[in-house]
């Protein structure tokens, strides 16, 4: 049936994407190019994580840094304080981020918070965690935590961006597989039903509370993996980086610009934003934070003129093109 072929096509496209990007990472030698690919994939991962809860679940979080920062701190603390191998710290970070997600989700969904109220609660939680991280000793307080440099694949510290690129690529592919599953599973169907109409979903046996909790758990786990990845690349984390609004904004802008609730939207959004950010950085020199200005402008333009994002608008154009092509042929016949 048509839906099965869609599913197959999606799986193929994920495989092709993984193959092409891995090959690029393997053959490219320029540090700039490798860095660009790595940072774009990292931004895609943030957007993909947000897309699970925001795009498929319709719960717009403004504080996804909460899960990012938690994953990052666990990754750093596990190595600095507990001497854990980073390959073990990464899943641990994802688990603890998930736990934080379940906690925030249970609190806010229990009381039916949605829309801007949910956004504000997540923002508030991220701020609370930032302030706590600034004051308690085990996060290194305001100074932050530095992960000691000890290069080696067994220590998840790579000689070049190539290794990190492959690491983040595998996380992005994991997120793609998860998104694919959301599009073709009962859980995903129920999640989208809750997003589109909660009462109608309840009437056909969907428990919105449980479904939203599941979505925030998955979203938080992916976000936590992005945080852990960040710590491995930059070997440093402080409260501002971990829980500040920058990451939250990057995650949601990527998903909204790319297309919410789609498979490739977050990846497309991240790519477009990174190309734009790099161009403006070259044009405007080293104005710090200029990329955030660009993100804001792009977001406003997209919401005004293409609310379905790049992929959604692309689809409409393609459908329109096919239709006008068909009409044209009909006229000739």
């Amino acid at each position: 049936m048509s839906s099965l072929s869609i599913s197959l096509r999606e799986r193929l496209s994920i495989a092709v994407f993984a193959g092409v990007v891995a090959t690029l990472l393997w053959v490219l030698d320029s540090g700039v190019a490798l860095n660009f690919i790595m940072m774009t994939l990292y931004a895609a991962l943030l957007a993909q994580a947000w897309n699970v809860l925001g795009g498929f679940g319709g719960q717009f979080s403004f504080g996804h840094a909460l899960f990012f920062g938690t994953g990052a701190y666990v990754q750093a603390m596990a190595q600095v304080h507990w001497g854990l191998n980073p390959w073990l710290a990464l899943p641990l970070g994802m688990v603890i981020s998930t736990a934080v997600g379940l906690f925030v989700g249970a609190l806010s969904f229990r009381y039916g918070l949605k829309g801007s109220y949910f956004a504000l609660v997540t923002l508030a939680f991220a701020e609370v965690f930032r302030i706590v991280a600034t004051s308690v000793p085990f996060t290194g307080a305001g100074v932050g935590l530095m992960v000691p440099l000890r290069e080696g694949v067994d220590n998840m510290q790579f000689a070049s961006r190539r290794g990190y690129g492959l690491l983040v690529l595998s996380l992005v592919v994991l997120a793609l597989c998860l998104t694919h599953w959301l599009r073709h599973s009962r859980f995903g169907a129920w999640l989208q039903a809750v997003r589109d109409n909660e009462d109608a979903a309840r009437a056909v046996g969907v428990n919105p509370f449980g479904i939203k909790l599941g979505a925030i758990a998955l979203s938080a786990a992916l976000m936590g993996s992005a945080g852990a990845f960040y710590v491995q690349v930059f070997q440093y984390i402080d409260p501002g980086i971990a829980y500040g609004p920058h990451t939250s904004v990057e995650a949601l802008v990527g998903a909204i610009v790319g297309g919410m609730g789609t498979l490739w939207g977050p990846v497309a959004g991240a790519l477009v934003l990174h190309v734009l950010a790099d161009l403006t950085r070259n044009l405007f020199g080293q104005l710090p934070g200029i990329n955030m200005v660009i993100y804001g402008m792009v977001l406003v333009l997209m919401v005004m003129f293409a609310p379905r994002g790049i992929t959604g608008t692309g689809q409409s154009i393609r459908r329109w093109w096919l239709r006008s092509d068909r009409d044209h042929k009909k006229e000739q016949a």
Partner: protein, 249 residues
């Protein structure tokens, strides 16, 4: 009457000072096709919301298949076999007709492909087969009403609560829909419908309850209730029954 699949005992619900539903008791027999009628604002939809768990009663008891379900969540009631449609249609607008119905089918069907296949079968049953791949937002009013029905039906309910599935349809669409509802009931599903279209009530219902200002004022066969003086007055105003009788003589 056979045993009641759904029974209400003294169910009351107020909104502030307004008694939307007051001391309503009724029993829906298993395997029956029944109707709930009444003037606008009588509390019919509120009563449906109380039955299906969307609202909590202030007082009273609701039983489904012998179990006390008073105050139980709608999703648990749906799992137990009670499905409802909404008077104001509630499609998952961003999704196609097929996907909409599949959400209902997923209640008892974990696999996506099986749920989509089940959706197709249900669409056939309610006459939506030709529109399966349309976005739900593109359907006409009649189409959306059918979709409401299809989605509820896809959960394979034992009891179907239909809230004005005929409202807003033109006579031809109504004539098309009546056999669909009858076929569902013949298939073994107990149906309770709220309906304003008397043509349908007269054709379909075996038993009718009349609700006015939150209270049950009459019940019986369609012919009985439409001849009932209380019912005529509830619809047309005090004294009308006597006047109509005078005219008839």
């Amino acid at each position: 009457m056979s045993t009641a699949l759904l029974s209400l005992q003294g169910v009351t619900r107020s909104f502030g000072g307004l008694k939307a539903v007051h001391n309503v008791s009724l029993g829906v027999p298993d395997g029956s096709l029944t109707a709930l009628i009444g003037p606008n604002g009588a509390g019919k939809t509120t009563l449906f919301a109380l039955m299906s768990g969307f609202l909590l009663p202030d007082r009273g008891r609701i039983e489904f298949d012998g179990d006390d379900i008073t105050g139980r969540s709608p999703h648990l009631n749906a799992r137990a076999g009670m499905a409802r449609t909404f008077q104001i249609v509630q499609p998952f607008a961003a999704q196609t007709v097929r996907e909409n119905i599949a959400v209902g089918a997923h209640l008892h069907q974990g696999r996506r492909s099986m749920a989509l296949a089940a959706a197709e079968a249900v669409a056939q049953q309610v006459g939506l087969a030709s529109q399966l791949d349309k976005p739900a937002a593109d359907l006409t009013v009649a189409g959306r009403k059918r979709l409401e029905l299809a989605r509820a039906l896809a959960t394979q309910p034992r009891l179907l609560l239909l809230d004005e599935v005929l409202a807003g349809l033109n006579p031809q669409e109504i004539a098309e829909m009546i056999p669909v509802v009858r076929a569902i009931a013949r298939g073994g599903v107990t149906v309770l419908m709220i309906e304003h279209v008397m043509q349908a009530v007269m054709h379909l219902a075996q038993h009718v309850w009349v609700l006015a200002q939150g209270e049950l004022i009459a019940q019986g066969s369609p012919a009985e209730v439409t001849g009932n003086a209380h019912v005529i007055e509830a619809y047309l105003g005090h004294g009308t029954a006597a006047r109509l009788q005078g005219q008839a003589k």
